[in-house]
Amino acid sequence: MSGRVIVITSGKGGVGKTTASANIGVALASTGVSVALVDMDIGLRNLDILMGLENRVVYNLVDVVEERCKLRQALVKDKKLPNLSLLPAAQTRDKSAVNAEQMKALCGELKSMYDFVLVDSPAGIEQGFQNAVAGADEAIVITTPEMSAVRDADRIIGLLEARKDEIKEYRLVLNRYRPTMVANNDMMSVDDVLEILSVKLLGVVPEDEDIIISTNKGEPISGTDNIRAGLAYRNIARRIRGEDVAIMDLESKNSTWINKIVSFFNPTVRV
């Protein structure tokens, strides 16, 4: 078997990389393929919490690289999806604990075992990022529609372009999208961001409080029905698998005055 290694990266911290990694991992695995999630944020381990697997971590990525355990021993199986596993980051080491060559070898081994290997990159463009992209065939760039996040995404795209020989494709996920603000001309739209970055779109995830709730529960939202952000991640997974899925209509229906009156009296009603 030769799977696809996809690095999930952003440049800027706090735009939702780890949340996206967890959700895309769950959504992909739900379609029936086998998935390994790799937490490359060595020293700042978080993916285990989002997956609700923090109590099951015994070994980590650095243990594997330094041959204190076998790769299979370090992989933690998801609670619900037996075809989804997590390779946790080390919490007590730093980015220099592994190098690009070791990462390439590790990704090579993982893609012989899984259909998809998703690598959650740390923020920044230094060694942690370089290690995370070392073994990748494709990339997903995460940004929010804020100026600083878009600027950092542009920097990342430049670095990915420079690795064209290894990274065959990169696509953008626009996270925390707020249609109401766009409708009021207070924020850049999907098309604005795509035009500025000249990049292909993989998906748009609306801002959703349910994301915080799902993080607190340790159950990624893409496993839950009836939540728009969850549906957005499931659509992203289908697009990764090559399906042609239309971007869902996020245009705000709350901006007309009648709907404003309704939502003023009852904010829970989504018109």
Partner: protein, 85 residues
């Protein structure tokens, strides 16, 4: 009045366009690693060179960096009045 503004927001204050314009200019500079003010210096120097051969209408001379698919183009448009020689 406040509730009126809230129900019928003014479309005049277009933060979205401002953000987009700033973003475009910032990324053009970032991608070329172009320090602030460098373009203005180039503009002055080019004006001086072209100005040796032609009398220029400086008010309508247009100087701009444009982006297409992550590549920048320098667009300079000199309005010529007459030859100097």
């Amino acid at each position: 009045m406040q509730i009126f503004n809230w129900l019928f927001p003014a479309k005049g204050d277009d933060v979205r366009s401002t953000a987009k314009d700033r973003m475009r200019s910032m990324l053009t500079h970032d991608r070329l690693e172009l320090p602030a003010g460098r373009l203005e210096t180039l503009e002055e120097e080019l004006m001086a060179v072209v100005g040796r051969y032609f009398e220029l209408d400086k008010d309508t001379t247009h100087f701009d960096l444009q982006q297409y698919e992550r590549r920048a183009s320098l667009i300079a448009n000199f309005r010529l009045l007459r030859s100097k020689c």
